[in-house]
Amino acid sequence: MNEPLLTLTDASVKIARREILQGITMSIADREIVTLIGPNGAGKTTLVRALLGLQVLTSGSLQRRSALRIGYMPQRVRINEHMPLRVIDFLMLDGSNKDQALQALDESSVSELAGAQLNRVSGGELQRVLFSRALLRNPDLLVLDEPVQGVDLAGQADLYKLIAKVRDDHGCGVLMVSHDLNIVMAHTDTVICLNRHVCCQGNPDHVSSDPAFLELFGNRYADTLAVYHHHHDHEHDLHGAVITEPGG
């Protein structure tokens, strides 16, 4: 088996003496789609920043495959209101030529935006432009921080399909941060459930039945997932607590 794209080993991050992440161990393999979930304040964005090398670790280590190219789509970019900048020029800022930029826009089906001013496109369009920019680097790993934020429901499904397609076409690994569990789970190989530490990780079926997951998200989400996957491996009592099936 190939060396993972990147591996985080027993990593902790403290910011202003507050422990944000503790003892995180995880890795992302080639062509693997990893989704990071967790409540607000769980440290999802800090973990992403640590994986990107933007956040210094207090302890532990980060190993990246050599010459790893990362395409990053940030959670929200406060596009500078005061800078005149066309979408195509924005994409060419990383040194790509016009053809490459247009192709990347085309891949996200927003080529008609090329000449538009970046600070005038809608939220959903901006997400796709940012996605195009992430693709431009021909990445080994795509990192998407809440990619569907501000995108309507139909657009969300499209965007997830696009992400899966890009994974297949480019053969890259994908790391996503997400809130909406049910759609995400369907397109994910591995789920990491974070609450300052890794509560549980594994494939969606496994995670959705994990007691730590249920404690974090409650049964409502677990049910959604379970319904989605048509696969129950546990029951709930009247109060919603998990009843482990004997011998299950």
Binding site: V77, M83, P84, R86, D89, L93, Q117, R120
Partner: protein, 260 residues
């Protein structure tokens, strides 16, 4: 008289070339407060130059760059917000300047020129210094332009692209400090921020890309400078304020022409 005017035009145009692109960054990164506060600290440069009997222009320049470096260092190592640090450092420099001035027995500061600039008192030596500073700053800016623009769009994206954001921020601060120190001679401490912001904002209203905006800002700054000097020559108004008013007239016109 002719030569006096020629020197003023040369100095004014050099400053317009500097404040155009740097002004764009002031507008993009909301650094107006930086320009204002740093300009006030120029008095320390004036005082030290007088005390040590060195050239005023270079003294102010060196002092501005030193304060910018101190700001960057404190910002990075003590995690204090930039505006707080500016408020502390620049005003301490201003206070220090007044105190040092007290020790210079022969001190004669032309306060009006200090506050509002005195372009007509510029000598050829000053023009030469401004030309050197302009050439150096423009060269650095050309080499760093693309990276500085990416950082201005979004710091996180720049970081993931492998750009050393901290280093480029320091470079921008130093360029800005050097520009302000140079521009003070033309428009004075109180008006220097106007020279940074008004041409850039005017340019923003009528352009479609960062590069266009920078060149348009230079052009607008040059026109304002020439108009200000002409007005000053013909109707005997103060040059610095005349330049600022000329720039403001163009800004008003640009509001009507807004492309977006």
């Amino acid at each position: 008289m002719e030569e006096l005017l020629l020197r003023a035009v040369c100095a004014g145009l050099l400053v317009a070339v500097l404040t155009g692109p740097l002004g764009c960054f002031v507008v993009w990164q909301r650094m107006a407060y930086f320009g204002d506060t740093l300009a006030h600290s120029a008095l320390l440069g004036v005082a030290i130059s007088l005390y040590m009997e060195v050239s005023l222009g270079y003294g102010v320049l060196a002092c501005g760059i030193a304060i910018a470096l101190a700001l960057a260092w404190l910002h990075q190592h003590h995690a204090l917000p930039m505006d707080t640090l500016l408020g502390i450092l620049a005003h301490v420099a201003l206070a220090g300047g007044v105190i040092v001035l007290g020790f210079v027995s022969h001190a004669h500061v032309d306060w009006l020129a200090y506050l509002f600039g005195d372009l007509l008192a510029v000598g050829w030596q000053d023009v030469q210094r401004m030309a050197i500073v302009t050439a150096v700053i423009c060269t650095i800016l050309l080499f760093c332009w693309r990276k500085l623009v990416v950082i201005a769009v979004d710091q996180e994206i720049a970081g993931v692209d492998g750009i050393n954001v901290q280093a480029y921020r320091v470079i921008l601060l130093v360029l800005m400090a050097a520009t302000i120190a140079t521009a003070i001679q033309v428009v004075g401490v109180l008006l220097v921020t106007a020279l940074l912001i008004i041409p850039a904002t005017t340019a923003r209203n009528i352009t479609r890309s960062p590069r266009q905006m920078a060149f348009a800002a230079i052009f607008i700054g040059c026109v304002a400078t020439l108009a200000g000097i002409a007005a000053s020559y013909n109707v005997d108004v103060s040059v610095g304020p005349a330049i600022v008013m000329a720039a403001f007239l163009m800004f008003s016109a640009s509001l009507a022409l807004r492309t977006r």
